[in-house]
Amino acid sequence: MIYRNSECCITPEEMQCNTPSNECCNNEGTTPDIDMTGTFSAMQFAMTDLNLYLDTHPNDKEALEMFNKISKTLQSARYDYIRKNGPLMAGDSSADTPFEWASSKYKWPWER
């Protein structure tokens, strides 16, 4: 399953596709086609998006359930990510020197 944001836009359709060319609004849609299934990034993104939705719909039980469900499993996905890609935060570094956070072993996000 590819995570898709169903809450895309309630404004008139032309709000999304009001450009003279259909270059940017063709059948590729507005959703990027990278499959982030089951990954830490996909879960984080789902949390970010649900967070915004819940900010303006604080009484939506179904959305909050989904948010809590992802939140529960996020921690183990985070550990898996760190095991594979190195520390996400300085405190995730191993106990050994050289300091893992700043070591060249793990590239910065813009270098990847």
């Binding site: 809450e7 060319s21 970010t48 915004l52 303006t56």
Partner: protein, 195 residues
């Protein structure tokens, strides 16, 4: 307090340099409709928001914009790796290169540095949220224009992600504004029909 995670909010992996495109895209880093302005605008406006929903949405969207700023900076950085002098001269990137080399500087596509006059903080919830709605649409237009000029799928993919987020943010700001209007109707005499 802000904490940093050593990852991008959405992956950027550009294989081929394209300094001409980098010069266009830098506008979403430091231009008037860019991500730096967006994050500063919302994170500054949030302090004077009057309701739980408006405080939360400005805080959280402002926070997300910082991650988008990092993505745009990454796109510019990766598009300007491994350049030779010939391509710098021929691509139109030379004007930027003269002062910044391949550093990532907050400026618009014509080189004008970031200016806080691109944002407003009025202390008025209706005025601020209305500005935010326009800001999201203006940012969406710039991403549309980038997509008109960019052929490289490595660039188009993260740009499409950023464009979609503008639309989602527009949606959320619209909801926040409607919530405020409903609240004002119940509280302020003469503004509308009391619920």
């Amino acid at each position: 307090m802000f904490l940093y995670e050593k990852k991008l909010i959405y992956p950027v992996k550009i294989k081929n340099p394209n300094p001409a495109l980098a010069k266009f895209i830098i506008s979403q880093y430091g231009g008037p409709n860019g991500e730096l302005g967006a994050s500063l605008r919302y994170l500054s406006q949030r302090f004077s928001m009057p309701t739980p929903e408006t405080k939360a949405i400005l805080n959280d969207i402002g926070n997300e914009e910082l991650s988008h700023l990092e993505m745009v900076g990454t796109i510019v950085y990766q598009l300007t790796r491994d350049l030779d002098s010939q391509i710098v001269k021929e691509s139109g990137f030379g004007d930027y290169f003269m002062n910044h080399s391949t550093g990532v500087y907050p400026a618009n596509a014509t080189g004008v540095p970031f200016d806080a006059t691109a944002i407003a903080v009025t202390g008025d919830v209706v005025a601020d949220l209305t500005e935010d709605l326009a800001a999201e649409q203006k940012a969406r237009v710039v991403y549309d224009n980038i997509l008109r000029l960019a052929d490289d799928p490595d660039v188009r993919d993260p740009i499409k992600f950023l464009r979609e987020r503008e639309i989602v943010h527009f949606q959320r700001f619209g909801e926040a504004l409607r919530l405020i209007e409903d609240e004002l109707r119940t509280k302020v005499k003469g503004i509308g029909i009391k619920k």
